[in-house]
Symmetry: C2
Subunit: 429 residues, 2 copies
């Protein structure tokens, strides 16, 4: 971990920069996958399963029996834990519902806005050694809460042609039963265009490798919505002298273990805090199974000493971290000054893991500085908001003349005429 | 206008399809513009002004004097009309504010969500013969309401190097004074990357031609957010026997006059309604200054007779129109059945022009079927929502064990350890 002491303000921009992500090179490979899925549908998916997942699938969809069996394979302890997390996520996301409110902007002119579920959504859950079932809660719970009609899930099968029991258990728990054994860019293409087995959806959610990310970018250009642009996961911790170095180190490491490209930043107004935290990192790192990944991630990471906590907050706002941890006893004074962050963890007992799993907030958050202009996943992500307006005779009489003038000034005479005809008709009655 | 009578359900999908938009061909041209602006900044903009706008600019930014002068050039009548519209838009958008609500998901675990302004936003207003000042209200009013710190506006200058007074008046009225004489793809590039004169922004809004659209797509791939994907404007009208054919025709024409690629669809359960409306179109069309544009747009347009109004609603949901007009006396029964639309105009006095200018709803709406998965512009478009969580000792004790189990099952042991350390420390005190 590189330590930087009191960098001048002019250096902040460079210090807050993420490593460049090469974006272009995958275009051709991923475009070919998408075209192949569009043209050859299920057949293409079965061939990709053979090629990439090393399995001959007889069916792309997970059967009811497979789900029933998975339920028996998950321990009761883990089931309770998942249930606790689900309840908290449900409670917090349910509070995000917006009631319809009719606003009379001018007498006779009523306007309102209604949230309606995006009818068909697709969730992608990556494969790999560990089953990322927590992401199913984060995406499936709000999708169910708003009432999306069709919620499907794609995840790559293992060599035996199975999806991990914890994934099937969690999906079934939140009410998702249309589950498909499809991974990678081909999964994104399937959910964007439909393949026969995999239904077409209107919005695609979920994390993935660079092929998945590129596929999401490409289908977005064709009108399929996506949750948000992707980048490596990251945490920024602001620690003062009341922080606990062991906690700070553990939180930095829980970000660093995500991947070698993880971004980890520690800010403090106190050199001792940084020294102590770095010592703790060395101590804890040795014990971790994912020590190699975390070690590489830490190489790109920075500990920066600044003059004041206010400077730390300002630097953080410029960096716009996915996760921001305020590691200190008294934090409430700072909260008003935070302008850019995905999710904020307040005080010494609010570790990032809490939000990753069970506090109730969503863990699908903007990375790579996107917290400046994107929100994390929420109930909003699964709805579109339709506006309505209803004008009475009095309403069009009140605002009609203004519309006529504005339409004329914009040289849109048919727009004007639509009002003129109505005003005349009212006058004639 | 093509009339289609009682098409079988299986034909609806094709009838609801928009013409394909060719997307690839502009990549090279627009990428070059973006690169040039990135590298040569203001100098590139001055050269593009010479080349495309036929003007030698001495300054890219609009001066205070130019704004003062513009204010004197707009008639008092038009000023009043713009003010009325602004008030209604303000009233409706202000009602969209979300209050912070602290949710205790588990005792000791508090979560909340706060909307914060996107700090820097850029608005694009196209040039052409008519000044589209109404779009400034639709974008500038919500940006101001949420408190975006920096709101800038780009619009191409005319041959004399000026921007239309109505644009400058409206921008100044909503509080936008950083206005730049830049048009086309180069305007989008400027607001995405900054040029010296034009500041960099985090999110770009506004309509434009195919170069502008392509530039928005390309900068979006580099992390700059955009309002929504673009497509030709469109209206779908559902008219029953209580509709007024002259009103229906006027509303169809006010969409058709937008551009030759405008999409206009009329649905009814009554053949006479369609016949009468088409007759009215012919009558009104002849009187319009933009008769040529409207005539071409009508060539691609469809009038479809269906068996019932329920069928019309179902077809409309499949089409997902930008604007949906329910042209009939009694409409409230249908409202619950609408699932996909940008903005809905209810009853014979709610013409599309009302929403385009002054009812209070936003006129920046999803086209091209995107109403299935995107919302129109609203207050939401100018904020990002940050989540917060604060756990007390009791809070981490309550959810900590569940987090440990879940992290272990996902093989993320540093995540687990961040909790374990805290639980141990609490036990030891």
């Amino acid at each position: 971990m590189r330590v930087i002491k009191y960098p001048p303000n002019k250096d902040w921009e460079i210090l807050a920069k993420r490593p460049e992500i090469a974006r272009e090179e995958l275009d051709t490979i991923v475009s070919e996958v998408i075209e192949n899925v569009k043209n050859n549908k299920d057949q293409a998916l079965l061939e990709y399963a053979k090629k990439f997942d090393k399995v001959n699938l007889t069916s792309l969809s997970v059967s009811e029996n497979e789900i029933s069996e998975a339920i028996t394979l998950v321990s009761d302890e883990l089931k309770s834990a998942i249930n606790l997390a689900k309840n908290n996520i449900e409670k917090f996301h349910a509070s995000q519902k917006i009631n319809v409110e009719i606003i009379e902007t001018t007498p006779g002119v009523q306007c309102w806005r209604k949230s309606l579920p995006i009818e068909k959504v697709g969730l992608y859950i990556p494969g790999g050694s560990a089953p990322l079932f927590s992401t199913i809660l984060m995406l499936g719970v709000p999708a169910k809460l708003v009432g999306c009609k069709e919620i499907i899930l794609c995840s790559p099968p293992n060599k035996e042609g199975n999806i991990h029991p914890a994934i099937l258990y969690t999906a079934n728990l939140v009410g998702i039963t249309k589950i498909y054994k499809v991974g990678g860019a081909q999964a994104i293409a399937s959910m964007a265009y439909g393949t026969g087995s995999v239904p077409q959806t209107y919005k695609i959610f979920g994390p993935g490798n660079q092929y998945v990310t590129k596929a999401k970018e490409l289908v977005q250009l064709n009108g399929v919505a996506i949750d948000m642009p992707a980048g490596p996961s990251e945490v920024l911790i602001i620690a003062d002298e009341t922080s606990n170095p062991a906690f700070v180190a553990a939180d930095l490491l829980s970000q660093a273990e995500h991947g070698t490209d993880s971004q980890v930043i520690l800010l403090s107004d106190n050199e001792q805090v940084i020294e102590a935290s770095i010592k703790e990192i060395a101590k804890q790192l040795a014990e971790l199974p994912r020590v190699d990944i975390a070690t590489l991630a830490l190489k790109n990471s920075k500990a920066i000493v600044l003059n004041t906590i206010t400077d730390c907050i300002n630097f953080s706002n410029q960096y716009a971290p996915e996760h921001l941890i305020l590691a200190t006893e008294k934090t409430d004074d700072w909260l008003e000054d935070i302008t850019n962050a995905g999710s904020v963890f307040i005080g010494n007992y609010s570790c990032e893991s809490a939000g990753d799993y069970a506090s109730g907030t969503n863990h699908t958050l903007p990375t790579n500085g996107y917290a400046k202009n994107y929100s994390g996943v929420s109930l909003d992500s699964f709805v579109k908001k339709i506006t309505f307006q209803k004008l009475s005779k009095q309403g069009i009489q009140n605002i009609g003349p203004a519309i006529e003038l504005m339409a004329e000034a914009e040289e849109l005479f048919a727009h004007k005429n639509a009002v003129t005809l109505r005003l005349k008709q009212i006058d004639n009655v």
